[in-house]
Symmetry: D2
Subunit: 345 residues, 4 copies
């Protein structure tokens, strides 16, 4: 099978390229570009010297239909909304990492992304690809919307207690921390090494575009959840996201009971590793892998539970999850090409 | 005036040494040790070559009384409890950074520190030295208990709204993040560079010994506050603490009103810099200085306020605050020897 | 095939475990320990939760002979010298990463390692495993001595010009820089995060034990080379080694000619990637992979060439190279289990 | 006295501002800009909230003459060449950090900087401000050219042996390593955190514009030195430069003799700290201070000496040295406003 990537020179696209060039079911991975046609990919990423031999191909709807069966969109917000109408979606399956198709309510998209939303018909057709929650739907998707990095860690961390109505619905607070690669490869004052190193910042306070995505997903699990508090921090590291989640429990329960709830919920989820009581995952323990690791504790002093959920933002938070969805959409083993152990230290 | 430091080979003690050797009112700063008598201080800290000429002096109660007027204890927990009974506290003022004298209720000390508490009489006599809240008391202190690093950022971040009863008392959540220097200079697997770098960890979940210190201080400001949720994260950086604080407000208020409340409260506090709306401090913006910087926002969607409070853990979180207290106890200008601009980048 | 690792709880051993558990020809990888028998491996390395199911097995010569066909020694210096006499080396192939068997002249071992050397007979039997230089010998080795991390980068960087006598023999200067993981997992003041972060150190000036290893290898390539200047620096990063090599050329040559020399020399070496003129590899461009990347330039102003050689110290500098040697010793494709693309960023 | 800074929003200018606002002889420090007139300085650098109250003033030659006695140019190359002809240099002393006035031979400037040189008359008038070598000249300078960061560390590291003709003149190799702040605050792909962190790069191989500056200074000390090999590496840290210097000695000498030579040479240089034998400075040991620390060793095996010289690139490598020169030019104590202990850790 041949597949294509739009936006392969970004970090998410590059990670996709790393995974897809080694994927056992993929013969060729074509890299499309709107502006750098003919450029050798290795000139952008010399670490792939002698591995990724492709030159960038011109981004053309017709050509794409003929060349590939699945197209990954690893472009920033806005690109998918613009590109998708030009592609015959009966011929090419789409896996979109841009974020354009995540919010079903387009007015929310406009409000939080400050952009024109994609065609409502495309948005309606897109399946939200969080396989641990809706694998059946993903099997039959032709347009798949890959979840955001923060929402992946946050929703997985909350799903068991949200779905079972164990929490006070208005009590959800997510204190999220991310490495810098999520900001992409584009130069910018905000990602200058000297400003990030030995520094810790909060950003987009009460305004991150991942808030409505998290709320939409939780609301599907539990109608009584409508808003959450979600703040994001920039940590001096390249990869990794941690969501520290605080919830008030409706009824007192032991940490053991809480653990049971999580272990049952994720019994069949290969990529979720719920840790034993007393152990909490650090971000590096999933580095370079597709795992989402969790630890949790109930505090009887306050009646509050703390849940910690970590992912590699470029893997389970982007490219890895996209490949997981690709596998499911094509009837392959969910883990194909993703059986990578985390790199440590 | 001569002063002394016990524990100057630790990071907190070394930072004290940096400040005290340049302090305009101090003639000599004597460094006491229980185990390394005669060793040149620069052998431990070659960055002070030609600056700190002292050799380590033997730790002897009698000698201390004769040599110094104020003694700083920069030792780990347990040391103050053991050392203080041996010193004539009528002759020497004590500034204790060990944490042994912070909790007025000794049973709490035992429970959270897992150690024998200090003599209750000494604990009773010790004044908690958070000058922004109780400068008058500090003026007449002979034993001063210097606040912990996390409590300093957390209590200052909460004091205005706690004192004015603006918050739901059981709603306080503090998500704290710290650099690694707080763990001290002692070698340990947990601070091995390879385990910390490019990694983010949560630790001591629901069990950090700074929890009762924060609760004690908040309870003094507002009798209805008894427990808080407080979690700590280890960030791959050397210096800096950020407390991201979440509180439910009793009544809706604008971010402007919230800002007013903070600005009024800290009008006369030189070392607290409340930022304008929309701006939040990063940890590096107080690096090497004694400032505590704050930013805040109210979210009308959730009825919750987020307050961000940052300090340099070795300065306002330890040595800087100790010198600030020293100044107040001796009738000097509060800022003497502390007018250091943050180092950036 | 079953294989075993001694010292799997160190960083090198852990990296071996990562590679061997995914190696297509290996059924079982048994982890031996002298002191922690029965302990679950994941307790030391939770990132391998649900991946490495082994508990540590007792280190016993008899047992090893029965259980495994190849034994990897990933222990610190001294361990191999002690362990090897207890193992029947007709039954078990040995791949030693400890360094004990690298120096053929045992008096040099004593001088530079400050330890008792291994039995001369074992030392004589051991084949130095730098496959790019002596693959034929490795094929028939029963005891293989895996090169040191610095020597790997340095010798590969010098081999083409040394073998062809293009350089002034006494002019070799290697300025080496390494990440911290080379120092291992043992706690120590020298690897405390706060001492390493935002810091750069030189260490073991004129005294690093890898000096005689480099000299021995170069002398085999060119009898006229007897000593080199080799200094090592500790860089605030976890993985990666760069050797910046300075040599005076005997005769003026263009950078193009120099490049030709390197490209010819490494034509058949899968893991060496010589970069085009004007491009120099950074350490992260080989991160997590078994590549050794090189860049070079001749400076006609000074008559001197600069050669840059980078590896991942835990991969081509240790575990990856050991697996490469394992493949060759067993007649497998050299690259088996090592076709990992570098992880970037 | 009033002084002015052009380019205060860069890192070097910001560091100057930190030093000059606390300098005991300076009443007011005016910040000039060509493009951001009226902007509050703290908007660019919120860490100086309540410390630097200035707004940026318009850059006007007339105005500058009236307002300040000394003007610091902390602009990138090219700015000084353009600005200086517009200022009456009889009224305002100039301290230039741009590099435009360092090379006396303007053809070298063109060749290495790829720019139009400044007027030869201005270049001729400018005094090179490395006070440890030419303090007398600096006293009477009206235009001072502040040395580059790498040349400062390199020239100071070589001066004693160069001046006394102890080294083979063509043997000088300087392997330099720098933190990222030297690249300035401008956004750029090369300084994106994700590209720098956990990475080590060599750059500008054989082409760094500081090469002719180093050669010019060494040639003044020793006519027989004409070229050096000088390579630069980018280290994942913000501040700090280390020059590891390799030289062949003409005659064998002990490390003790070499140390004597350095200690004598720098006997009266407050800011140079020559370390005892066996001890080498790390970059963090001068962090935030104006020191240049050195360590050295002679290796009798190779006849080569290794000299290590470290500075903080923003202090002794830029702003600190500029203030040192300012002090000398105005007859103040050389150390005024610069008695800052390094910040550690």
């Amino acid at each position: 099978m041949n597949v294509g990537i739009v936006g392969a020179t970004g970090y998410g696209g590059n990670e996709l390229n790393r995974l897809l060039t080694k994927h056992p079911k993929i013969e060729k991975c074509i890299l499309y570009t709107s502006s750098e046609e003919g450029k050798a990919y290795r000139d952008s990423y010399p670490h792939l010297t002698e591995i990724s031999h492709e030159s960038l191909a011109s981004l053309d709807g017709k050509r794409i239909e003929e060349e590939v069966e699945t197209l990954f969109l690893a472009s920033p917000p806005g690109a998918a909304a613009e590109l998708l109408p030009k592609i015959n979606r009966n011929k090419v399956k789409i896996i979109d990492l841009s974020g354009d198709l995540r919010l079903k309510d387009s007015s929310l998209y406009e409000q939080w992304y400050k952009r024109q939303p994609a065609d409502q018909e495309i948005v309606d057709q897109a399946v939200y690809g969080l396989a641990e929650l809706n694998k059946q739907e993903i099997k039959y998707a032709t347009i798949l919307s890959n979840p955001g990095c923060f929402p992946t860690a946050s929703i997985l961390g909350l799903a068991p207690v949200a779905a079972q109505s164990l929490i006070e619905e208005s009590s959800v607070i997510i204190d999220a921390k991310t490495g810098v690669s999520g900001a992409g490869r584009k130069p910018g004052a905000a990602v200058n090494y000297s400003e990030i190193n030995e520094n810790l910042k909060i950003y987009k306070v009460n305004g991150h575009q991942h808030i409505p995505e998290i709320e939409q997903a939780l609301n599907l699990l539990n109608k009584n959840i409508s808003t959450v508090t979600f703040q994001t921090h920039l940590v001096p590291m390249t990869r990794g996201i941690m969501a520290t989640i605080y919830v008030d429990l409706k009824e007192e329960m032991s940490s053991e009971q809480l653990l049971d709830c999580y272990q049952s919920f994720y019994r069949d989820s290969y990529f979720v590793r719920v840790r034993p009581l007393g152990e909490f995952p650090s971000t590096k323990e999933v580095y370079g892998s597709n795992y989402c690791d969790m630890g949790l504790a109930y505090d009887e002093r306050t009646g509050r539970a703390t849940i910690v959920s970590v992912i590699d933002n470029l893997m389970k938070g982007a490219a890895g999850q996209a490949v997981q969805n690709f596998n499911i959409m094509n009837g392959y083993e969910e883990t194909l090409g993703l059986e990578l152990a985390p790199l440590f230290p």
